[in-house]
């Protein structure tokens, strides 16, 4: 297991390198520089600024300097938030994004698995069809449509929940963003759970378990749970990526000062280092979480050997 983890981490290095290279080039290819503003700076001042941030060096040198920094954990200074380093900004904003994303993931799993299981146990009944129709809707509506709709319904018309971040504090302001972020994932997870459980319930070994006279609870919890959850597990990777990208939209809609918010602002302000830093951070995060999913896989299915 340890050898497997190390090998996978080593294998991730070229991937991450390409991500950094790609992001670096894309950011530089965008028109304009970090200090282009309405007010034209005096040429001398601009040259000083560029020199201070090493922007006057040739591109390959800049890239190497950046990679070198990243390797030592230094993402460089932010061009937009002048007094902060990118590392500080990430450290400040990430906990909030993590909380919202994590809660959304947990909610999606809890709701999705229970809805899928309920549907699978009564296949082709009205209940099953209802759950599946709802989840189909959930899959087809993107986050940026769901979020404003939720705000309209529960925030504005019904006025049950706060719609923004700045207003009244407390837990209640988390509800709408977390739900909006979770909904599309609930839908996917419900469908996967349903399909997985139905297939498992038709398998020969469940027939054996029935023939042994096991009560339904044992059948489901002891025999069917693990194999039925395997497809859900394999969806966790894409789900995590979905929640990460979704959070960029959600934080914008609800005005949450999380990492997604910084990312968008960074892109708008041509804050090279901030955008790059967040891309590298997210890419690393996704690699690590996928590794965790694979390890979880092996604990769930004894036939999988981590080599």
């Amino acid at each position: 297991m340890l050898a497997f983890t190390l090998r996978r981490l080593l294998a991730a290095i070229p991937t991450l390198f390409l991500v950094v290279l790609g992001a670096f080039l894309l950011v530089r290819a965008a028109p304009g520089g970090p200090f282009d503003e309405e007010r034209v700076l005096p040429a001398e001042l601009e040259a000083n600024l560029l020199a201070a941030y090493h922007l006057d060096e040739p591109l390959p040198t800049q890239f190497l300097r950046y990679v070198g920094g990243v390797l030592t954990g230094d993402f460089g200074p932010s061009y937009g938030y002048r007094d902060y380093t990118v590392g500080q900004l990430i450290a400040q904003a990430f906990p909030l994004s993590l909380m919202i994303g994590g809660l959304a993931m947990l909610l999606a799993l809890a709701l999705g698995i229970s809805a899928g299981a309920v549907a699978a146990l009564r296949p082709n009944t009205a209940l099953d069809r209802g759950v599946m129709a709802l989840s189909m809707t959930g899959i087809s509506i993107p986050v940026f449509v769901i979020a404003p709709l939720l705000v309209l319904a529960f925030g504005v018309s019904l006025d049950w929940l706060p719609v923004g971040w700045s207003g009244s504090g407390g837990i209640s302001r988390l509800v709408l963003p977390v739900v909006a972020l979770a909904l599309p994932q609930v839908a996917h997870i419900a469908r996967l759970t349903r399909a997985g459980l139905i297939e498992v319930l038709e398998s020969d070994y469940i027939r054996t378990a029935r023939a042994q006279g096991l009560p339904t609870s044992t059948l489901l919890l002891v025999h069917a749970a693990r194999p039925a959850l395997v497809p859900v597990l394999s969806y966790l990777g894409p789900a995590i990526a979905g929640i990460l990208t979704g959070s960029v939209v959600i934080e914008q809609v609800f005005g949450i000062p999380g990492l997604g918010q910084f990312f968008v602002n960074g892109a708008l302000n041509r804050d090279y280092t901030l955008v790059l830093g967040i891309v590298v951070f997210y890419a690393t995060l996704i690699v690590l979480l996928n590794l965790a999913v694979d390890i979880l896989y092996a604990t769930l299915d004894p036939r999988i050997r981590l080599t």
């Binding site: 020969d204 054996t208 096991l214 002891v222 693990r226 194999p227 004894p302």
Partner: protein, 588 residues
Amino acid sequence: MSLLEVDALTVRYGADAVVDDLSFALEPGEALGLVGESGSGKSQTALAVMGLLPATAAVGGSIRFAGTDLRGLGRKAMNRLRSVSLAIVFQDPSLALNPYLTIGRQLTAILHAHDLARGPDALARAEAALADVGLPDPRRQLAAYPHELSGGMRQRVMIAAALLGKPDLLIADEPTTALDVTVQAQILELLDRLRDHTSLLLITHDLGVIAGHCERMLVMESGRLVESGSTATVFRAPEHAATQALIGAATDLAVDSPPAGDSDFLMSADALSVGYPAGRSQRLAAVRELSLALRRGETLAVVGESGSGKTSVARALCGLVAPAGGSVVFAGKRLGATLAERDLGLKRRIQLVFQDPAGSLSPGMKVAEIVAEPLRVHEPGLAREEVRRRVEAALADVGLGPEYLGRYPHELSGGQAQRTAIARALVLRPELLVCDEAVAALDGSVRARLLARLKAVQANTGLGILFIAHDLAVVRQIAHRVAVMYLGRIVEAGETDAVFGNPRHPYTRALIDAVPVPDPLRPAGRNSLSGEIPSPLAPPSGCAFHPRCRWSEPRCVAGRPALERIGGEPRRVACWRAEDPELVTTPG
């Protein structure tokens, strides 16, 4: 009172009655055989008794167990009877055990559910049950997962699970069909020994299995009971055509004479070795310096238990794995090690058919497209009508009419799917057909017809067939020559008649002995082979068969006997004692 009384049982799916007006009774302590081909309704009967039919089945008639009407019971009441009064062992232990749970967990779940034992008690009982069915080191096996056990061991676990609640009736539905012949004999013996006071309903398509183990038997065809009586009587004077066909399929062991005259070899392998990496720094030697040759128009069978390396031979010949050593010559030319190194023309001339027909046909294509596909790859210039003609001819070769052209794989039975797969191989007019357990999944009579078709194709075209199989009855039906493999080497090879009629290697003898004989008056396959094939990772020293050989001597442990001709015969045997008078004259 009978233990089990089935009266006018009918099972329908839509308009199709799969069990039609079936009545029979089973007495306490009795062993009753229920025979028929697949689709005859015998498994549906078993499921009906266990209350396991799907909701789509419409059931009529009554099933009484010790006087209780099972069909009137609710789910809870039925659950209480299962395991404790009624238990079942299914056909394929690799599917019937939950791959995600340890053996111990699956066994203790039964004890918990029926309040038979809890905690350490339950574990102790599970361990004792595993010991009863002859599992070595039962305590360790409690923590093992099913995939860590061999097929025979898994079926032992299934039997242990079924007998855990000490049921009055045990239903065994094709309990040995998925197993090697030597293991089959062990499992049947185990069922006999363990059932003690438990009544047995033994369901099978193999009359040989019934003969040694059941006093009375029933024969089903298309859902109906067509014959019943004492096993001896039914065997001596089968009345119904279905029974006669079943007995025929089991006893038809005639062999055609090998093709006369020309002896140029179509294919020969010399000192072929195949290995696979097995974990860190280890290599599993599946085939060790094996040599064999095949003439045009000849069928050579390679037989052995699973783990003998026979499938690896097929895969190496077809270029699916690169051999670790040795060479293969085909039609005078040395073959490249893998498919990538062979040119397209050569690939066309060697075709392979696998065991699992359904898995090898793409579900979205019609039969016509499936069979035509190889032509598109290998003979792209062919006109449409010509393709159609070739496809129809290939299907006709395997006995499928043009009405199958438009069907999809899921609309085919197992036999039809396998015939489609064979047609797909034959459409290219290959010179060598490699069949890897290609008929293993088929019923007796379906199989016999298919083999007859293959023989006809062979007679017309001079096709060479390499036939990989574990079923000796099938090999007798089709092979001119046979090579018996054990742990990666050939231990005996020769004309089929000579090898089967007068086996000289102790392993060949044991294999033949283990085949259930469809004759109730002869003892059931004497199980002269104990244990299972050792791991190829650590083969025994000297003669690899020595730990299981009843003739073994010190020199067998010390040195490996070469595969050599014996007497003036063309047959070759690898045994120190092949010509030892004691071994030659002792029967069995």
